[in-house]
Amino acid sequence: MSVPISWYLLLAAALFAIGAIGALTRRNGIAIFLSIELMLNAANLTLAAYSRLLGDRAGQMVVFFVLAVAAAEAAVGLALFIGIFRLRRTIDVNRINLLRW
């Protein structure tokens, strides 16, 4: 039995919302990062699903690029966390408010 396309999309939306909640509520920088990855992933899923629905592989291409960008982002982001950790001995975002007014 085939699965309706909207199920994929709804699943993606749910994942996105979960990711969003995580990104907004977690204090651990890396956890926030993970949540963002989750959101990206949800978006990827949506793209793949529409790609499938429309029979157009352009969506897959976008997913590919999202993955690549995610890799870059992870590299830079984690490097930043290492740097911040060296500086502040924590990556709790509540306590690395370096740009606080």
């Binding site: 990104a23 907004l24 204090r27 975002v93 509540n94 690395i96 740009l99 007014w101």
Partner: protein, 652 residues
Amino acid sequence: MDALSLLWWIPALPFLGAAVNGLLVRNGQKGLVTFVGLAAPGASMLLGLTAIWQYATGLAPEPLRQAVYSWTVGEMSIDVAFRLDPLSAVMTFVVTVVGFLIHVYSVGYMGREEGYRRYFSFLNLFMGAMLLLVLGSNFLVMFVGWEGVGLCSYLLIGYYFDQEFPPEAGKKAFVVNRIGDFAFLVGMLALFASFGTLEFGEITERVLAAPEIAKAPYVFGLSLAGFVTLCLFIGAMGKSAQIPLYVWLPDAMAGPTPVSALIHAATMVTAGVYMVVRTNVLYQLAPEISLFVAGIGAATAIFAATIGLAQNDIKKVLAYSTVSQLGYMFLAAGVGAYVAAIFHLATHAFFKALLFLGSGSVIHAMGGEQDMQKMGGLRKHLPLTYPTYLIATLAIAGIPPLAGFFSKDEILAGAFAGHHHLIWGVGILTAGLTACYMFRSVYLTFHGSFRGSHEQEHHLHESPKVMTVPLVLLALGAVTAGWIGIPTGLWEMAGFADHNVLHHFLSPVIATLPGVDTGHHLSHSTELLLMLVSVAVALGGWLVAKRLWGGERGLAADRTFAERLPFVQRLLANKYYVDELYDRVIVRPLAGLARGCWKIVDTLLIDGALHVGAFVTELTGDLGRFSTTGNIRNYALYFFAGVLLLFWWMIF
């Protein structure tokens, strides 16, 4: 030698001398300095005398105008031009002769000064500027000279710049003069705007051709002539130290004494008189202003004379005497006796210069002491200075047949003839006062016994030749200068042809306007009576002085006066507190206003508004700053909220 085509060299030579001394010669080369410093005005004097001779003997067209070059272009085309006519000839004569003599005197007087070179440079510069003033063919050149002499006055008053007071006095002189200059400038503007030219000749011609233009109402209910003459007279007030702008002149005595003689007695201060006479055609068209001039002159004359009575500084006495005499000249010009004004100017130049140089000699002998209270009995020590000083005193007091008598008498006659009896009265009173305070100075200085320290007494000595020779020459002038203007009445009464040389010589420059009453027609008997009255008053003044200060009396009269009328004495000694008045009424409020402008308008209002603006900006930023919690999660929330809004907007 055709001196007339070399006219412009007359002012140029002293300028050259000033430049050479100022820029090329070094401090140590005293001989060279002396040579240049004397050669320049000397050559200028020779040139000037030659030119005057050639002019007076009719070798030149009259009046002579020599344009050197064009100063500006276009609508306002003004030439740098010189003019030789009777008036400027008289002035040139006075300036060059008296000036040269004072230069010579200075060699002795200033011989040991450190700033010898500077002094001569400035003095030459002054000569140049003064000659520019008197020889200028238009108001612009005259104004250049006018300001130039002001500058030299400033520099020379402040010659002893390393002391506190002299530069201060120089500044005061310059600033007060500037106040007058401002009016002068406005007058010039009005003239130029109305006539399109600043040439004396052209203006006179046009006014004579169409007096109604000058009489037309201009501003403040004044006619054009009225406005212009008022402005010019205010200028003259500044330069010639008339009430209310006379305050700088007594202070100007801070300069070296020859400077006082040359600038603040003989020449520069008379520039105002010269200008009034120069523009007599306009004054004649503005009788109300003329009367004003006469009134100011009379008031200044008596006012200064009263102050002079109570001064103890010998130079101060002479300074107030100068103010007083200048008042006399304006009195003359105001009542229409222009020739008398110039006459008095010329004679005054000689005897006042002589007085100053004499006092300089005294000061020289006293080692710099100027206080008459410390002098006395000097005639023994200064055998040449005393007689010359006495001659000058007699001259200024109006004792015939010395110079002052004739000129002063002509002024008083003019006032009386113009039915200005009150002014005549003031004049005659002033004459008495003049004789009184001048003889007071003579008695206090030369008579009685010496009141100074022993050291001073020990050093008392007559001045060197280089100083005394000019004194003698000037004394000669003080005696004889009046003879060129022996009144027509006297000649006639004596049955001679009218040999009032000056009168005839100057008459071309005194405009005769139709409908303006210039009739100074006194009967010979009245004239004689007036003469006798004035001589009597002068002698009276002398006698009073002799009674009070003569012989060994010394300062007793002053002390008595101070005890009897302490208030009046203080008032006179403090010059009626005018300086203090000006300070309180004008200077301080103005400074307060300035400070207010700075601190309140600039700093508080304008910058304050600016800073308020900046503060509001900063405050906004400060408030907005709190949104940057530095907490990434908050930013994420804002971001997310934004996404939601965007989402909302896109969908609905």
